[in-house]
Symmetry: C2
Subunit: 467 residues, 2 copies
């Protein structure tokens, strides 16, 4: 790689740094909290602001897309190169709720720079990481002398991510032909740490359900009937206890069918990360690690499927005691899924497993809610390698690999558009997502812009369509 | 047995029936609801009324015993026979809450006779069954021509039974020397059915605890940490699931140590009862029976120890889902105990079992509350045989045997006084204890009086002290 384009990119970014930050601050002042109905006008204002700013940036097309909830923003900037690949960038313009009295040192919607960090709700999640794309594409054009990007660049910035993206999948389905892309780049995640740039190669999927169990028609006296009729709280507990075997593997028959195992190479890459288990435990606010035998903690949270109890309840939960056999109980379960698993298939397995295990006299109902597919991009995917190279140039350090244990709407893009999902995020765990004093280091934010400035050229060079 | 004393008893009861029912109605009009603070004066009035009525009946001593809560009534009527055994009758003068709007067909504290049944709160539980003793002892004297009872007769009628008898044990300990007796007769239970007079030979004991389990210091995200740290809701469920083995036997090591097994004779006696499992399931409001392998339903609820979950809770229990690993969970357990088991010993076993089973990273606290000992009187106990004979004479039918699955303060009397506990109750399940329209059949109530009229003479005849 020549040195010249890199210094040109850096020079452009340096020159436009102040204006970029001033524009971002203007956006951050709009309290686009999607979860709070009183902020619905602000979420709309945020969408309008972004669409017009993208037009000013140079995107020939920038539209506000209405949904039954909050609006999304769509923009595209086609390349003049007919063999250019098409990239769809995903992010969101809504933010988590925030109030000064939650523990913020300054107004969450009045951005301030302290310690070279920009403090505001949305600075990291996700307005900052959306907005560096505007500076990045301009730097890419300036450094290469192009008038259009080297890739067909599309942006889809939704407005309901912090509310569970209830209308996102339908939105993507309705606009699938316009969103069509060779790769999706999600800019709503982070990297390992300030010192360790990383790319994420996959996200776990999610299936969630509630199982309600019914025993006696009403609570009955445990002195009169205890020991002789089935107790739904006991049945609930036994279901939960039967979720895992003695190796902490999920014991639902068929659950691991099709699971894409970690390769030795990927396990070796995870092992290169400077992982401090004591520090991780502090983040987890926990007192011990525990999980599937044969896997490290990182492998367990990133690359292995799980079954977890999110809630359980039944019978008397107040102070003191009450000698009853409760009439009902419930458990809320969530299953994190990895590549090769399908939430609909998991639903069928869970239904069969539960029906099979419940005793006579206990009736049950299962309701499945969220179904998010997992996504995983192979390490040797050319677009992934472009992201790694671009990030390495921007950060000047070796780029390592992670995965994401959580689940997100990116999976809908992967599934509906049939395109691989890549992750380009420069936030770090200490940026305080969803917490008071959310912030982003200014230099790191600009390295995000720099990464994209390199990325479009690299992608076009290594992943061109055949003529 | 000669016919003459029986007809004399019946004649006396017939002649005094109207006055007896009028007096009982007066007592039932006092709403002595111990669980409702606004009725505290009524509970005191009820105690005063009973003490003065017992004096009018002929008891030389009748006292109101204060406690830190509601007062009890104590009365005694010594025999002039120096070899007479001493009998302590237990009952209670407080009642369950009741309000017309709960579904009563008439004012719960304005007794009325409908269908030859006296309807009022306390008619069966327990004022009616306490009060028949006043008529019974008078009939006994009239029929035998005695001026004092054939036994040393003591009555202890507490005022907090419906509130869990919080001060009863201390009361009994403080007055142990005055309460000393050869046998305790509990008149606060029932018999099998109107057609099947029975005596109860034992009651299960009770140990209750709450186990609180702590995992992460706060709820943490199951996407980020799921599958890699211990979940206290899972730990709670596993504890509950580990309570029983595959034969529905309690799996806590040592739990069955010392348990007095049912004899073949007693099992045969239980089997003589006209038990209809479908009808029983309706009472249990349940859809199947389930319990310890090798035992019938009646054996399970009367004569086998149990472990039951009365409540379980942890994590998110609201609508929808929340992808958390909860920071805490809890279970409330109760153990019904049978003869040979000791609640303090069971507490130690449960503590050791729980500590042993919980994984690293899960802290726990166990709090034990109620500890009620079981009681059991051998079938061939001479005093028990007296009760059976007396009841047989009054009801004119064979008397069969039951036990009681619940637990009561009678066990304190057994333990503190070192006397066997016998049960003399004439209520039946359809009398509606703790329910609207509580009632007692008048003829059955008077057969209770008749039973005691025979009982004192029979006891004195078959169970005299050595001269
Ligand atoms: Zn986000
Ligand atoms: Zn009672």
């Amino acid at each position: 790689m020549s040195q010249t384009p890199d210094s040109a990119v850096r020079e452009y970014i340096d020159q436009h740094r102040a204006a970029f930050l001033a524009d971002l601050a203007e956006w951050l002042r709009i309290p686009s909290v999607s979860a709070q109905p009183q902020h619905a006008p602000d979420v709309r204002r945020s969408a309008d602001w972004l669409a017009s700013t993208l037009k000013e940036t140079g995107f020939p097309t920038a539209e506000v897309w209405q949904t039954p909830g909050a609006p999304a923003v769509y923009a595209e900037w086609p390349s003049d190169d007919p063999q250019a690949p098409t990239v769809l960038v995903y992010g969101h313009h809504d933010v988590q709720p925030a109030a000064r009295e939650d523990g913020w040192d300054s107004d969450p919607f009045e951005p301030v720079v302290r310690d070279d960090r920009l403090h505001a709700r949305g600075a990291a999640d996700d307005k900052g990481q959306v907005f560096f794309h505007t500076l990045g594409v301009r730097a890419h054009l300036a450094a290469t002398g192009r008038t259009t990007p080297a890739v067909n660049l599309k942006l889809l910035i939704e407005g309901e991510e912090e509310s569970g993206s209830p209308h996102f999948r339908v939105l993507v389905q309705e606009h699938a032909w316009r969103l069509a892309a060779d790769a999706v780049i999600v800019s709503d995640t982070g990297m390992w740490s300030e010192d360790t740039p990383t790319v994420c190669t996959g996200m776990r999927g999610l299936a969630e359900c509630e199982i309600r169990l019914y025993g006696p028609d009403q609570d009955v006296h445990s002195g009169s009937f205890g020991g002789a009729v089935p107790n739904p709280a006991t049945a609930a507990a036994r279901l939960v206890a039967a979720l895992h075997d003695e190796h902490a593997r999920v014991a639902i028959p068929g659950f691991y069918d099709g699971v894409v195992d970690l390769t030795d190479h990927e396990r070796a890459l995870f092992a290169e990360l400077p992982f401090d288990e004591r520090q991780w435990l502090r983040t987890a606010k926990s007192y011990a690690t525990e999980g599937e035998a044969g896997y490290t903690t990182l492998e367990r949270v990133w690359a292995r499927p799980t079954a977890e109890v999110n809630g359980i309840g039944g019978g008397y939960q107040g102070p003191g005691s009450k000698t009853i056999i409760p009439s009902s109980a419930m458990v809320k379960l969530s299953f994190r899924l990895v590549a090769g698993q399908d939430p609909d298939q998991v639903e069928q397995l869970v239904r069969a497993w539960a029906a099979d295990r419940l005793p006579a006299g206990i009736r049950h109902e299962i309701t499945f809610s969220t179904a998010t597919r997992p996504c995983l991009t192979p390490l040797d995917h050319p677009a992934l390698q472009s992201v790694v190279r671009a990030m390495g140039r921007a950060f000047g350090r070796p780029v390592r690999y992670t995965r994401e244990g959580g689940s997100g709407p990116a999976a809908d893009l992967q599934e509906v558009l049939g395109a691989p999902v890549l992750f380009l995020g420069i936030s770090v765990p200490s940026d305080g997502w969803h917490a008071p004093n959310e912030k982003i280091e200014l230099d790191r934010l600009l390295k995000g812009a720099e990464t994209t400035a390199y990325l479009w050229g690299d992608l076009a060079e290594h992943w061109r369509h055949a003529p």
